[in-house]
Structure formats: structure tokens, C-alpha cells
């Protein structure tokens, strides 16, 4: 049971009255304004909308509306064969589709009892980390942009583009890579790829240093983001918060460390945590994780076996029947715990695939809770700082 938030300090009405129920949020009283932020709004990430009740400049009520991007993925996957689903799953999450590809492939492999070659594991880890890097770069631009700092967004999105170029070279796709398939990966690294990755990493590191200088040391950025959207430690479990949002509150949980998948147990890294749990700390945690990601990519390239198989021989995939069973696999994406719950019923089609995106709780329950009490100007910044992504919610 979560507490009635005592942090609401509306501008005009007496907050105490609101809390003990004497004052109700009644739009006819002319003390409140209802505005919609989204879906057609530059301050909303993705395509969703917030129904906000304002009292003065303070938000006193917030409802999220999702479903603008509902494509019925889970239904479509039930009508497609296992192998036909693999180009479909990556479309669930546009900024970092590789987590979908990996989790779907891994779930199918676990149910079918397939072992993948060692080198494929490293290549998978490489793409996952590169996806993390690209996603964080994009996010950083979004966070700065939501406070009006367009310059950072211009720089980071361009650097993300360099990472996308690497993806293009590796897989042929800029946004949707369809690189990780059940049984391994689709293609091996091109000749000289590691050097080109290193070039991009050097550029990204330089950029990160600049961002540290002009974003994290900027007094206006601090004034806007410090104290914004504080997630109390005690509601972390209540709201199912994972990823950097939880780590910024000082909770050291990272699936890469706790429950290592792929090759993460062979890599050297530590869990980044913060203290204050506000937007600034979350941005800082993500900035540090971006650096960590750069480091992890270097480690992966260095430790990866130089030769080897990249794909297990599969049976004829069009006649491929997966034995009945169910499993849930999870991975640490940029926003938190990404999971696939796959139920097989012994036919060539999955019985049920349920995608658990971290935004499911961050963008709905948590945002509704945190938006109440903030200034209307900060809602966009708050939403970005939770790193929500609507298509994970509605699929």
C-alpha cells in the first residue's frame, strides 16, 4: 500500500485541506486547470500523453494514457513461427532493439535446449553494450533537451549515429539490426571492425568529458534537476523500479552482476550507484554507466576469442517445433529489467510471449506518482529522467 503523497504543495489551495480531504480536486471550482501534455507534444517521450490537473503551476493530479503505439505484438507473435518472430521482436523497442532480439533468442534456445557457441556469446554481448551506448547517448540529449539545452542533444545524437554506423557495418541495419537470432548471431565481425569501434569509442569518450563539463557543472542544469522527482528508497520495490532509477537511490542491483548472462561474469565492472535519487543523480548514474559501457566494449573486444563458430546448426527452422514449456529470461537494459516470458506448447508457434519492459512501471505507476507535486515546467524533464519508453508498455 503506498502512502498518500504528503509532498503536494499546491499554489493556491491549502495543501493541508487537500490532504485531509476537505478540498477535492473539482474542476468546476475554477481553482484547477486540466491540460493534456501529449501525445502531440515535444516534451513527452515517445507517443503517450499525460492528463495533468494543475493548481497554479503545481501538478496535483496526473493520469497517463498509453496505447498510442499498441500494435498487438504478442498476438502477432502467436501467429508466426518461431523463426518468423525474430525480425518482429526488435520492433518493440526502437532505441535499443538488441535486448529484444537477445532475450527472445535466449528464451527459445533455453526451451529448445540449444547451446550457442562461445564466440556468439561475445558478439551478442558486444551488440548489447553497443546498443546500451547508443541508447544512453540518445537519452542524454533528451534529458538536456527537456531542460532546453539543445546543444547537447545535437552532439550526442550525432555520436549515437557513429555507433549506428558500426551496427550497420556489423548487421546491415541502422536501427533494427536483426543480428541476434536463435542459435547464435547472423554474421561475424568484418575485418578491421575492432579498430573502427575503438575510433568511435574515443570520440564518445571525448564527448562524455565535454558533457561532464557543460551539463553536470552547469548551474542552471543543477537548479533544474536537483531535487526533481525524488524516488524514495522505500517505494523501489513497491513500484517494481529497476535499472538506473533504482541504482540512483543507492540500491546496487544490476542483473549483469547479480545473475550474469552471456559473458558478463568474465568482464570486470562494478555497479554504479547514486545517493540522492533525484533527476540529477539519475543523469549522473547514466553518465557513469555510459562510460562503463565504453569500457565494457573495450574489454569484450580484447577478451573475445578471435576465431570460432558464431552459429549453431539449427534444424529446418520452418519445421521447427519447440517442446512444451515456459521460461522467463531477463537482461539489464538501459532502463532496467527487460524480460521475456515465453510459453511453448509443442507446436511450431509460440503459445504466448509476454514482454516485460522496465517502462511498464516507470512510465505509468511511477510517473503518475512522481508527477504530482512537481512544477508543470518540470514534467517533461521528469519524464525523460525516468527514461520511459512507451512502446514497451503497450507493445
Amino acid at each position: 500500500m503506498y502512502e498518500v503523497d504528503t509532498t503536494i504543495e499546491p499554489d493556491i489551495i491549502d495543501p493541508a485541506k487537500l490532504r485531509n480531504g476537505e478540498e477535492r480536486i473539482d474542476l468546476d471550482s475554477e481553482k484547477f486547470v486540466k491540460i493534456w501534455q501529449g501525445p502531440n507534444h515535444p516534451g513527452v517521450t515517445g507517443n503517450m500523453s499525460l492528463e495533468l490537473i494543475l493548481n497554479g503551476d503545481t501538478v496535483v493530479g496526473c493520469k497517463t494514457h498509453v496505447g498510442y503505439l499498441h500494435r498487438g505484438f504478442e498476438k502477432l507473435m502467436e501467429r508466426r513461427r518461431y523463426i518468423q518472430n525474430f525480425p518482429l521482436v526488435c520492433r518493440i523497442c526502437v532505441p535499443e532493439p538488441d535486448f529484444n532480439e537477445y532475450l527472445y533468442a535466449a528464451a527459445v534456445e533455453e526451451l529448445a535446449g540449444i547451446q550457442i557457441p562461445e564466440r556468439a556469446k561475445w558478439l551478442r554481448a558486444l551488440t548489447l553494450e553497443m546498443a546500451r551506448l547508443a541508447s544512453f547517448l540518445m537519452w542524454m540529449g533528451g534529458q538536456a533537451g527537456s531542460f532546453g539545452m539543445g546543444t547537447i542533444g545535437q552532439w550526442t545524437v550525432t555520436h549515437r549515429d557513429y555507433v549506428l554506423d558500426l551496427f550497420e557495418e556489423l548487421s546491415g541495419g541502422r536501427i533494427y539490426h536483426m543480428y541476434i537470432i536463435p542459435g547464435g548471431v547472423r554474421a561475424d565481425m568484418p575485418v578491421g571492425y575492432a579498430e573502427r569501434v575503438e575510433e568511435v569509442l574515443a570520440k564518445v569518450e571525448k564527448l562524455l568529458a565535454e558533457i561532464d563539463l557543460i551539463m553536470f557543472n552547469n548551474s542552471v542544469f543543477k537548479a533544474r534537476s536537483k531535487g526533481l522527482g525524488v524516488i524514495p528508497r522505500e517505494i523501489i520495490d513497491q513500484f517494481g523500479i529497476t535499472g538506473p532509477n533504482a541504482r540512483a537511490a543507492g540500491i546496487a542491483r544490476d542483473i549483469r552482476k547479480d545473475d550474469p548472462y552471456l559473458v558478463y561474469d568474465k568482464l570486470d565492472f562494478s555497479i554504479v550507484t547514486g545517493e540522492q535519487s533525484d533527476a540529477y543523480t539519475r543523469a549522473r548514474v547514466r553518465w557513469l554507466e555510459t562510460q562503463q559501457s565504453v569500457d565494457l566494449i573495450r574489454q569484450i573486444l580484447a577478451k573475445m576469442p578471435k576465431e570460432g563458430e558464431i552459429h549453431t546448426m539449427l534444424p529446418n527452422v520452418l519445421h521447427w517445433k519447440i517442446p512444451a514449456g515456459q521460461t522467463y529470461l531477463r537482461a539489464e537494459c538501459t532502463r532496467g529489467e527487460y524480460g521475456y516470458f515465453v510459453v511453448a506448447d509443442g507446436t511450431g508457434y509460440p503459445r504466448r510471449v509476454c514482454v516485460r519492459g522496465p517502462s511498464y512501471t516507470h512510465a505509468v505507476a511511477l510517473l503518475e506518482r512522481l508527477a504530482v507535486g512537481t512544477n508543470i515546467s518540470d514534467v517533461a524533464g521528469l519524464m525523460v529522467s525516468l527514461h520511459t519508453y512507451p512502446p514497451e508498455v503497450e507493445r
Partner: protein
């Protein structure tokens, strides 16, 4: 020719020059901003095309009479501001309708446009407009304080309320500029210029992310074109005013172009490197340090001159 007709003709010519300079300056600064961001940026003449396109939109929606009057007031504010500022010291063509108390009138005109806009935008009935208007007016009241203080300091320093006389007092080398004779007034004034220009960090009024895009949410087609035209004039009018008050005015057109350009670059450089304040934060900002500096300028002017 009747002198007043001639003066009107001259004022119209100077307004035309200023309009073009405003549009080109907008293009140039956008390109400079783009360079900082690693881009090429819009063509320098993009402002003209945008305005032409907007005048050529086929339909427009009205929300009542005040909605029409909003942009008209805004243009009246912009043109009025410029009309009473002598743009180039000693030039007949660019002297406009200057008179003995013009700095007071100009101060009024700087804010007149926003008030008119507030009425028009309120009429549109869009909640974003209303929020933008309340933000705009609140912030305007805040940056008016340091600006008014620095103007008072100048009046005390030069014992005049005429812009021409203030400029005249600053002639004879740059050490006579207010910048060097009363730096406090200049600092307070330039900070409030940042607020007036509505670039970062004081751009929350027209911010796209924090409720798009403030007062002009509902303005479109020719209304918007009118606002854009005004923006070009008003930007330069403000810059010319500040140039006259603090930076010794200009005696040639080239001096005017260079000084307004350099002054605008201050805004641009601050703009590209800062996020924006929330409106309450910007009010607090203006009422603290710049106001104290403005007071210091007044005290300084009274004590020294």
C-alpha cells in the same frame, strides 16, 4: 517638402533597413548557433522565406477580435519602440521621432507589445497560451526591475531622459561609454537584455518542451508572419536601444551594424551554453543579483556624477 512628411518618409526608410537587418541578423546568428552545435544551419535568408510562406498560407482561423489585435499590438510595440529611438547619432535619416523624454516612452513600448500579445493569446482559449502568457508577464515584470534601475542610473548620471543626449554625452572615444563610466548599470542592463531577448536561460515562455510554445500556440498563417516581422524589428530596436544607452551609440550605419551584432552575440553565446530556468527561478534570479547591481548603479551614479 513638409518636414514632418519628410521625417515620416525617413522613418519608414530606416524601419525598412532595420527590418532587413533584423531578418539577416536572425539568419546569421542561427548559423552561428548551428556551428556551435556542429551543424551548417539554415540559409541566411530563411527568415524571409518563412515570412513569405506564412503570408501565403491559404486559410487562417480566427478566435475573435482580440485574437486579431494581439499581433497588431505586438507590431505596434515593436515599431513604436524603434520609432522613438535615434538609431544613428547625427544622421537625419536614422534619427526617427526622438524627443526629450523618449527613453521613458521607449521603456513603455518595450513592454506594450507583450501586454497586447497577452490579450490576443488569451483570446485564443488555448490553455498552453494562457500558461505561456502568465509566465511571460511574470518574467517580464522581473527583468523590468534591473532594466528600470539601470535606466534610472543613466538618467541620474547624464541628467537627461533623452536618448540623443545620452548618446551625445558618450561621444569622444570609447572611454566615455557608459560601459566604462558606469559598469554597474551596463551589467544590470545587459542581464535584463538576456531576459528580454527570450533566449536561454530565460526562454521558458516560448519553450517547446515545457508546454509548447507559450503565447503564440494558436497563431498561424499571416498572424504568425506578422509576429515574425515584428520579431525582426523588435530585436534590433532593443539592441539599438542598448547600444545607445550603454555602448556609445553609433555614428555610422556600419558602427550600428557591428555594435548590434556584437551585442546580440552575447545573447547567443549565453543561449547555446545554458539550459533554461523555470519561470519562478528566473524571477528569483532577476530580483537578486541584477537588482542589487542595478541599485549599486543608481547609488554610484548619484554619488559620482
Amino acid at each position: 517638402m513638409n518636414p514632418i512628411v519628410l521625417q515620416i518618409l525617413f522613418a519608414a526608410i530606416s524601419l525598412f533597413v532595420i527590418l532587413n537587418w533584423g531578418l539577416i541578423l536572425g539568419g546569421i546568428t542561427a548559423r552561428i548557433q548551428a556551428r556551435v552545435q556542429g551543424r551548417i544551419g539554415i540559409p541566411v535568408w530563411q527568415g524571409y522565406i518563412d515570412i513569405i510562406k506564412n503570408y501565403f498560407q491559404r486559410t487562417s482561423i480566427s478566435h475573435g477580435i482580440m485574437f486579431y489585435l494581439g499581433p497588431i499590438f505586438r507590431v505596434a510595440g515593436g515599431v513604436g519602440t524603434y520609432m522613438f529611438i535615434p538609431a544613428i547619432f547625427g544622421s537625419v535619416l536614422f534619427s526617427n521621432f526622438h524627443f526629450a523624454g523618449d527613453v521613458i516612452l521607449v521603456m513603455y513600448f518595450v513592454f506594450f507589445g507583450q501586454l497586447g500579445m497577452a490579450l490576443g493569446a488569451g483570446e485564443s482559449g488555448h490553455p498552453y497560451s494562457a500558461i505561456g502568457v502568465s509566465r511571460g508577464l511574470a518574467q517580464m515584470t522581473a527583468f523590468e526591475v534591473p532594466f528600470a534601475l539601470s535606466v534610472i542610473a543613466l538618467a541620474a548620471q547624464y541628467h537627461t531622459l533623452s536618448i540623443t543626449d545620452i548618446v551625445a554625452a558618450q561621444q569622444g572615444g570609447f572611454v566615455h561609454w557608459t560601459l566604462f563610466t558606469n559598469p554597474f548599470a551596463v551589467i544590470a542592463g545587459v542581464i535584463s537584455l538576456l531576459g528580454m531577448n527570450m533566449h536561454n536561460p530565460f526562454s521558458v515562455v516560448i519553450a517547446p518542451q515545457e508546454i509548447p510554445i507559450g503565447p503564440p500556440t494558436e497563431y498561424h498563417s499571416s498572424f504568425l508572419a506578422l509576429l515574425q516581422t515584428n520579431r525582426a524589428i523588435f530585436n534590433i530596436a532593443k539592441l539599438v536601444l542598448f547600444m545607445n544607452l550603454f555602448f556609445g551609440g553609433a555614428t555610422t550605419i556600419w558602427g550600428m551594424l557591428i555594435k548590434t551584432f556584437s551585442l546580440y552575440m552575447v545573447t547567443i553565446f549565453v543561449g547555446v551554453s545554458f539550459p533554461r530556468f523555470r519561470v519562478d527561478q528566473s524571477i528569483r534570479f532577476f530580483l537578486r543579483v541584477p537588482t542589487v547591481i542595478g541599485l549599486a548603479a543608481v547609488v554610484f551614479a548619484i554619488l559620482v556624477f
